[in-house]
């Protein structure tokens, strides 16, 4: 990863989710794309305002579930038919109805772990350092009661002065320049 220095972005702070969503919508309409909202609880409208509509967590979960089911059913079949066949009261080696229960459990296990860890991986977590934590007002409010919009410096439309003026139009509590 390249060493990053300089400005990460401009961080505007709002009091209510409505103000944040309006500002984010305006920013998207103005052509900004590399930006993110930060809220103390999920605000669906904020994600939509910045153009984030779909995620792949469900797909990863589905693939995990299929893998878990196949893995367990395959293992049961292999163990019972070839690996260690046990003749108990003349029951068939390949007793598929009896194999369903563990296969079902592993479907859920793999799907659940894929959903949880897939979500973390797609979110890029764990990341214990993030430039936004350098902004003191972010740490005081982002996980409590304040709503933030950050326009990132990597956005082609980003300009330290113009973007700041643009954010100021939406009457934020403050606009802070965040360093790496």
């Amino acid at each position: 990863m390249p060493i990053r220095e300089g400005t990460y972005g401009l961080l505007a702070e709002f009091d209510t989710p409505t103000e944040l969503v309006l500002a984010a919508q305006a920013a998207y309409e103005a052509g900004y794309r590399r930006m993110d909202c930060y809220t103390p609880y999920p605000v669906e409208e904020a994600a939509e305002a910045i153009g984030f509509h779909r995620n792949n967590v469900s797909l990863v979960c589905l693939l995990g579930g299929i893998l878990g089911c196949c893995a367990m059913f395959g293992m049961e079949t292999w163990v019972s038919v070839w690996g260690y066949p046990l003749n108990i009261a003349g029951r068939p080696y390949y007793s598929w109805p009896a194999f369903v229960v563990p296969a079902y459990e592993w479907t859920i296990l793999f799907a659940g772990l894929s959903a949880a860890f897939g979500m973390l991986a797609m979110n890029g977590l764990p990341t214990l350092y993030h430039p936004l934590f350098n902004a003191p007002n972010f740490r005081n409010g982002a996980t409590t009661d304040k709503f933030f919009l950050c326009i990132e410096a990597t956005d082609p439309k980003f300009s330290p002065t113009e973007s700041r003026e643009f954010l100021a139009l939406h009457r934020p509590l403050s606009v802070v320049e965040v360093d790496y």
Binding site: Y38, P42, A47, V57, G83, V101, I108, G112, P126, L128
Partner: protein, 473 residues
């Protein structure tokens, strides 16, 4: 605690519907966060907590002593013998795992049904699930006779080339319970991550910032993150729902696939699941009532929660009652005289007292919950939850013991009497459960802050026209 009747003009009453509110009015994002995080971040641990911890951990040492003695002497120190080879260990295993089920039900099924009242109680109900599964998991491990070989139950490539028997319900249990434990822990932890972020930002001590910082994985509340997080939570809830139903069904298969009178019943899976939810909600109430009084959380865990939980208990209790009556009906209708004798023996045999305790605790007394005055009284619900948990323990006792001790042949009849080691292990696990729970209450936010924030009226994004109008004012 005195019983409080709800008065007219009570701020806890919704003026339109007249129902008790789920959350007290007047809360802000900040007040909610402060109230919940202060319980954990305060440098002064309440003396009551210390007393509780001392008592609980003292009781928990019983399980350590009992298990140590068991490992030295073997399962002969217990009351199990022929024909009752399954005693307290299985009774307690099924009882504890059943208690866990309400946690998953609250966090998963009620989430899918968008029941926002669950938000105040889901975190500690989930914690309860995990600790109950810990206590439950102990019993199968220690009852196998040679517990140091219990890992043979897992399919792993070993030098002996021996593999487990996948057609056995006891092995299904291994997968059901281990999956249940894993998914419960993951669901719980994922739910905690945003709150760990809050704790990290609010912690005053360096140590707290490090620990909560590590646990929060760098959570910063990005909208993209939240959306994936919400999807993952819903998926986990969707997966946990069939899981919770399957776990207790699989446990009921342990019994139902046997040909023993009293166990060989197709009603078992649904009736076991309903019983699990019944006892689980009872345990949530047992925990919620003292906690809300001790930490003054009456504005978040309101009488509405008690009322709703009581209704769930009433419903599941009636399903359980249906199960009992079906057992009696089938014993008669099947015309199997072993079944009929088993039922008669259950009711009027030497252990008949346990059956009538079960009927009294699980069916008769809980009918009091039809009364609203009982449902919204913390003290009465606390007592009732004790009664139900006792009743559910008796249910497992009745199923295990009264089916086994008199089966087909009178020459093989026997009896069952638990020893003091049985009691020590059982009571010890209660201490273990309480100790773990007290640690949870002290070090982790017991009410999910981000979910409570979502319930506040100011959390909603207003339509643009309204927002512009307000700004103009």
């Amino acid at each position: 605690m005195a019983t409080k009747d709800v008065k007219v003009n009570d701020p806890m009453l919704d003026p339109i519907t007249g129902e008790v509110r789920v959350l007290a009015p007047g809360h802000t994002f900040k007040s909610v966060t402060e109230k919940i995080s202060r319980i954990v971040l305060t440098p002064h641990t309440p003396i009551g907590w210390f007393l509780g911890f001392l008592l609980a951990s003292g009781v928990a040492t019983l399980v350590v002593i009992a298990v140590t003695w068991l490992f030295l002497k073997g399962v002969g120190i217990w009351g199990i013998t022929q024909p009752v080879a399954w005693g307290f260990a299985i009774i307690n295993f099924v009882w504890w795992i059943g208690i866990g089920h309400a946690g998953t039900l609250i966090s998963a099924i009620l989430l899918l049904f968008k029941q926002t009242w669950r938000n105040s109680i889901n975190r500690f109900a989930e914690a309860m699930t995990i600790f109950a599964v810990v206590c439950a998991g102990l019993f199968p491990l220690i009852h196998v006779g040679r517990p140091w070989l219990a890992y043979w139950l897992f399919p792993y490539p070993n030098s002996m080339n021996v593999w487990p028997q996948f057609r056995s319900p006891l092995l299904w249990d291994v997968f059901a319970v281990s999956t249940y434990a894993t998914i419960s822990v993951v669901f719980w932890y994922i739910g905690l991550v945003p709150d760990f972020g809050t704790m990290r930002d609010r912690s005053k001590t360096r140590f707290g910032q490090y620990v909560y910082g590590l646990l929060s994985l760098g959570w910063r509340g990005s909208s993209r993150h939240w959306m994936r997080y919400e999807t993952a939570s819903l998926l986990l809830a969707g997966l946990a729902t069939p899981l919770v139903l399957s776990v207790h069904s699989v446990i009921s298969f342990d019994f139902a696939v046997a040909v023993l009178p009293g166990w060989h019943t197709t009603i078992f899976p649904p009736y076991f699941v309903a019983g699990a939810v019944y006892s689980g909600f009872a345990m949530v109430i047992t925990l919620a009532v003292p906690i809300r009084a001790f930490y003054h959380l009456e504005d978040m865990i309101t009488l509405r929660h008690l009322d709703n939980m009581a209704k769930v208990m009433l419903t599941t209790g009636l399903i359980v009652a249906y199960g009992y009556s079906m057992e009696v009906f089938m014993a008669w209708y099947s015309a199997s005289h072993w079944e009929a004798f088993m039922m008669w023996n259950r009711m009027f045999g030497p252990m008949g007292w346990s059956y009538w305790c079960l009927i009294a605790c699980n069916i008769a007394i809980p009918q009091l919950m039809w009364l609203r005055s009982v449902r919204i009284s913390p003290a009465r619900m606390f007592l009732l939850s004790f009664v139900v948990n006792t009743g559910m323990w008796f249910e497992r006792f009745v199923i295990v013991v009264t089916s086994l001790y008199r089966d087909f042949l009178p020459s093989s009849w026997g009896t069952y009497k638990a020893t003091r080691w049985d009691y020590a292990t059982f009571i010890g696990t209660m201490g273990l459960f309480t100790t773990l729970f007290l640690l949870f209450v002290r070090f982790l936010p017991m009410i999910p802050m981000s979910e409570i924030r979502m319930m506040l009226p100011q959390a909603k994004v207003k339509p643009e026209s309204e927002a512009v109008h307000e700004a103009g004012d």
